[in-house]
Subunit: 152 residues, 3 copies
């Protein structure tokens, strides 16, 4: 099944690329590696479900936020490569989870992103990653995800 | 205009490379990617304006700290490549901002670095990036920036 | 001296690869770069010496934790490349140190990893790096290390 069909089946609409919050680019290519800037769980220019894991944001909301941040990475990717066929591999994601000090399930939160990538792309979506907790993120977002992809 | 002229015009002196705080290298090349170790806003071996955004460090000081950390990345880059002409592209920066939990303007702080890079290098200075907040950095620095550059 | 001999001399046993905590891969290769997922100081599926630098975890314990996280990165590397001879260079590590807000010796903690890599691999083990503090890590681990290596 094509990526477009899988996206449709999963009910995922790839949005417009979020406007960078500052003087930088959504993505820069070097060789066949595409470095995608850190994306927040924003929809229509608004952060969805702001706050901290372990406080205002529960696990389900956190996983949904990680999904949305990953989808925003894919929006940047798609805008850059044009056709999904030009994606060779999701290489690596780093997921920063905004959380209370006593929260230690960052890996579970980031699964929201990891599982989605595998559902959409299959083997091409399986990636290396790091999941870390931080005390604070831009716009009080619950998570931020950056991505490295290999592209044609 | 050459990079040297722009640096002069901007009043920026590229310093000596700061001594690594530990057993590692300032930069390692792999193919045409140069991975530059995380740099602090240090000048003459002293951290400038230590402390947290949202507490002792205000926005203007934070942006200046981000500028200085970026300049220290450039010091490593220049020492490695020798001539500015060997720089092909600033690919990516990651900016860790030491801040209070309720501070959410990390992107604005990191603009200090992003805007400077564009001023100095033009299109070659435009990069992908991630801006995250952290509770603590080495030597109580207000920020730390790591960089990936593409070089000849 | 071969890497295997040095490991033996240092009394280091490279463990089985820790089971990923989630839906991702221990490592993904792109060109000759191998991106290794963030590793915790786990032994036999248990986090060794959990807690924060500056509170429950002292400097010596923190450095040991960084060593162990680095060894777990090497476990992933070895499982991927098969023979140590296929390692060309440890390119970069990022060390996230779980710590109190007033702790500022992240660089010293990460030296546990950096010095070990140099002892094992000599010049091939000398790397770029970033050391940052964070308020929280998966499973309450004292540190997490991710690695980029250049391989044949």
């Amino acid at each position: 099944m094509s990526v477009s069909s899988r996206l449709q089946e999963l009910g995922i609409v790839i949005p417009e690329v979020a406007k960078p919050l500052a003087a930088y680019l959504p993505a820069v290519q070097a060789g066949d590696l595409l470095f995608i800037s850190g994306q927040l769980p924003r929809r229509n220019d608004e952060v969805v479900c702001p706050g901290r894991l372990g406080r205002e944001v529960n696990m389900e909301q956190g996983m949904k936020a990680a999904e949305l941040a990953a989808i925003n990475c894919l929006a940047v990717l798609k805008a850059y490569i044009g056709e999904w066929e030009s994606l060779l591999q999701i290489v690596k994601i780093t997921g920063y989870i905004q959380c209370r000090e006593d929260f230690d399930r960052q890996a579970d939160v980031l699964n929201g992103a990891s599982e989605l990538l595998e559902k959409i792309f299959g083997a091409k979506g399986r990636h290396a990653r790091a999941a870390v907790g931080v005390n604070s993120l831009p716009l009080n977002a619950a998570c931020e995800i950056e991505m490295i992809a290999r592209v044609k």
